[in-house]
């Protein structure tokens, strides 16, 4: 089997992967170098905005940026504590009432 190994059993070259990963990464870093810097600020603002309505801890917010092919996505994950959803609703109606009154 080894005789034919060189034609049928060749592993993909790792150097090609290195080059491809670098090309993708550097295209991203060169084009939008500072873009990643705003993520922590965005995360802080989002958490602040949510905190006005719901009690969430800083750890409950996950934010990440991803790009696959031509599409870049921003994913924001917020874990709301189950009992807080009710609390938030109640709180909102209270505030509305207070504003009216």
């Amino acid at each position: 089997m080894n005789l034919f190994g060189f034609t049928f059993n060749r592993k993909p070259k790792s150097s090609a992967q290195a080059k491809e990963r670098l090309q993708i990464l550097l295209a991203h870093e060169r084009g939008s170098g500072p873009s990643a810097d705003f993520l922590p600020l965005l995360q802080r603002d989002i958490v602040e905005a949510i905190k006005r309505y719901v009690q969430v801890s800083d750890d409950a917010v996950g934010i990440r940026m991803d790009s696959i092919g031509d599409v870049s996505s921003l994913e924001i994950n917020i874990e709301l504590p189950a009992d807080q959803k009710e609390a938030a609703k109640a709180d909102k109606t209270d505030k509305k009432a207070a504003a009216k009154g």
């Binding site: 190994g5 990963r21 670098l22 550097l26």
Partner: protein, 272 residues
Amino acid sequence: MSKVIVVTSGKGGVGKTTSSAAISAGLASRGHRTVVIDFDVGLRNLDMIMGCERRVVFDFINVIQGDAKLNQALIRDRRLDNLYVLPTSQTRDKDALTQEGVEKVLNELREEFDYIICDSPAGIERGAQLAMYYADEAVVVTNPEVSSVRDSDRMLGLLSSKTARAERGEEDQIKSHLLLTRFDPKRSGDGEMMSVEDVLEILAIPLLGVIPESPAVLRASNVGVPVILNEKSRAATAYEEAVARLDGEDIPMKIEGEKVPGLMSRLFGRSA
């Protein structure tokens, strides 16, 4: 006219100091008055690679702070009488470097020397920024490995934005050259290491030379002699050619192992 050349890389351990020592020794052997400056304040190593560690009395920082005259701190190489080393301080930290101080010392050196080689520290902090700030040309030392290539790309970005030439405007930008070090032609031929073309395609700067991975480099650093001056080796020859190109000579690039191995060598090579 004198030239200030920074040897930089971003990533540590890729061969900046080895290359600074080899390039400065090579330029001096070609007859140019050359000085090599260690910008790695607090972690000085150029003195050991140049073999003058026991002759350091005053250093770059002493000169910047006015505690010593420049010619008191310059150490003349024992092998080449037109080669000088300006060592850095081992005890101070990088904040001891000031932009005005660096400029003053470089201007003074420009009067005396044809080539001023600045051996940059790793990283992108003050020492590295000041090493490149007044440069006319840059030698970007890169290994054919992802983190080194990425860091080199970052350094190229800084060279074209955070330097005196960049701040002065469009024309007359720093001329950057790629020096690919620790290259293993066999592994590259086997597809285990990026090829010279791969790295060139990514970084898109002119190639100054390719230094093969070689045991001669460690032997040279063991004895404190620049690779070029120590013994005949492939690395020494590759450095000599790179230096000749840096000096304006047109030498064709020969890169071993860049051919894809033929069918027969693959067939027989694999069973070995």
